[in-house]
């Protein structure tokens, strides 16, 4: 029996990066994992890989910006695996921009994927979890939800929104006695496709990455697994007194 043995988990943005690492780790620790993403090919591959390694997983195509997709995904997961115990709101995007050059369209797109989806997902998950005796909702924020970054104005705003929304939902669910915990995770810059793709849009990508490394006192960027382990802790019953908290995993980025 693993640390999340027998639990049913849904991980959005599960096809790549932190999401994929989380799917693999939760499955290794005994969870039945719904890998959801808009990237069907990569998502299917993650689910297949988990099954080939003896785990239990299935891919669902799921656009987190769509409330209908949320309802369809949650109903399908319930049908295939049973009541949901763990939701990891991981899907997110970065559009590189500053406060001066960000367009309103970019701003809205960022809030839609990074923040609205967390609201809708949390609301829908509460709806199903409260009748099952509870669960754990883990919202992936960022160190950019705690401190300012210069080239990601809209992203910072969205991640700060996730941080505060998490606390509001946590306190509400605790006071209602739902047995649902809600926490945020704040990764530093992690070596994932999200980061490398964002950096590749810049003319001085190498310089930017080496500057990023220098901002982490541990002297290197984190790996997806470093974040997955924190998510596993919050997903498991080991954290049953933890709600409304922020798990910072950032190599010291925000401690300095």
């Amino acid at each position: 029996m693993g640390r999340v043995g027998g639990k049913v988990a849904l991980v959005t943005g599960g096809a790549m990066g932190i999401g994929a690492a989380t799917c693999r780790l939760l499955a290794r620790e005994g969870a039945k994992v719904a890998v959801t993403d808009i990237n069907s090919e990569a998502g299917e591959a993650v689910a297949r890989d988990i099954v080939e390694n003896g785990g239990n997983a299935r891919f669902y195509r799921h656009d987190v910006a769509s409330q209908d997709d949320w309802r369809r995904a949650l109903a399908a997961v319930r049908n295939d695996f049973g009541p949901l115990d763990i939701l990891v709101n991981n899907a997110g995007i970065v559009i590189v921009n500053t406060v001066e050059d960000a367009t309103l369209e970019e701003w809205r797109r960022t809030q839609e994927i990074n923040l609205e989806s967390v609201f809708v997902g949390t609301q829908e998950a509460i709806g199903v979890m409260k009748d099952n005796g509870g669960g754990s909702i883990i919202n992936i924020s960022s160190v950019m939800g705690l401190v300012g970054g210069t080239i990601e104005a809209a992203y910072c705003a969205s991640k700060g929104g996730v941080r505060m929304f998490t606390k509001s939902a946590a306190v509400y669910c605790a006071e209602q006695g739902y047995g649902i915990r809600v926490n945020s995770v704040h990764p530093g810059y992690i070596m994932t496709p999200l980061l490398t793709n964002a950096a590749s849009t810049l003319p001085n990508a190498e310089e930017v990455v080496s500057d990023l490394i220098s901002r982490h006192p541990l002297g290197h960027l984190g790996e997806a697994d470093d974040i997955a382990y924190g998510i596993l802790y919050l997903a498991s019953d080991e954290s049953k007194f933890v709600t409304g908290s922020e798990l910072v995993i950032d190599g010291g980025y925000t401690a300095k």
Binding site: G219, Y229, Y233, G251
Partner: protein, 268 residues
């Protein structure tokens, strides 16, 4: 590989005889660590170690007053010599002196700081000397400092305790950044429990219930419940499981962080 395994690790847990410290000792030994329990409470500390050995877990007791620099030096030396290293230090020992700020004495203040703050400083200092490259074990490590939600927010009757825990919180970040910058391979993080069902948790209620504050146990309990969305005290093992995460390689990228385990206390 299991990143939570503590099989090859040696841990020192101060104040490990009772309360949260004893629960941390349980968690780490069960995960495979060799744990040295340090405490001034010799009877309880020895009993704890014997109890674990009877269960085929690895533990030993050492008498240790964390406010004494000489004892820190000799304790770390002994731990390293007897066990071939030191990988984890849990600075858990601490005291609470409650009361109104206007009533507390400078002696109270100094006493609380000598244990809660000087104890943590000395622990980090001598652990770093041993753990850093070239030290007596020299293979890096993880230091976990027990702070408190009282180190983050204010509550009535806990001014000097909360202040000492705020000092631990800030010192943790400084040590974390310094050690990381110097490439010591030593991570340092703080853990912030809300009220926990231990003798110290009882002391918090007692202070709140005193005539000068709320005047009754019922009123004290009511206030605590209003402050904690989950409406209950934490259990020692709930804090211990977080300490285990921070002690293990599963948290390899976590340093300078403050992790709360408080039933939502500081979220509102």
């Amino acid at each position: 590989m299991n990143s939570y395994s503590m099989d090859n690790k040696v841990a020192l847990v101060t104040g490990g005889a009772t309360g949260i410290g004893a629960a941390v000792v349980d968690s780490l030994t069960q995960a495979g660590a060799m744990v040295v329990i340090s405490d001034i409470n010799v009877a309880a500390g020895k009993a704890k170690a014997e109890d674990l050995k009877a269960k085929n877990l690895r533990a030993e007791f050492i008498e240790h007053d964390v406010s004494s620099e000489a004892q820190w030096q000799s304790t770390i030396d002994k731990v390293v010599a007897n066990n071939g290293g030191l990988d984890v230090l849990v600075n858990n020992a601490g005291i609470l002196i409650g009361g109104l700020l206007a009533d507390l004495s400078i002696e109270d203040f100094r006493r609380i700081y000598s244990i809660n703050v000087e104890g943590v400083f000395l622990g980090m200092k001598y652990a770093a000397l041993a753990m850093r490259p070239g030290g007596s074990c020299g293979r890096g490590g993880s230091i976990i400092n027990l702070s408190s939600v009282a180190g983050i927010v204010g509550t009535p009757g806990e001014s000097i305790y909360g202040s000492s825990k705020g000092a631990v919180r800030a010192m943790t970040k400084h040590a974390a950044v310094e050690f990381a910058t110097l490439g010591y391979g030593i991570r340092v993080n703080s853990v912030h429990p809300g009220p926990v069902a231990t003798p110290m948790g009882g002391q918090v209620l007692e202070t709140l219930a005193s005539d000068k504050l709320l005047g009754s146990e019922e009123a004290a309990m009511q206030l605590v419940q209003n402050l904690i969305p989950m409406k209950r005290f934490g259990e020692p093992h709930e804090i211990a499981q977080l300490v285990h995460f921070l002690a293990s390689d599963a948290s390899a990228y976590v340093t300078g962080s403050e992790y709360v385990v408080d039933g939502g206390f500081t979220a509102m």
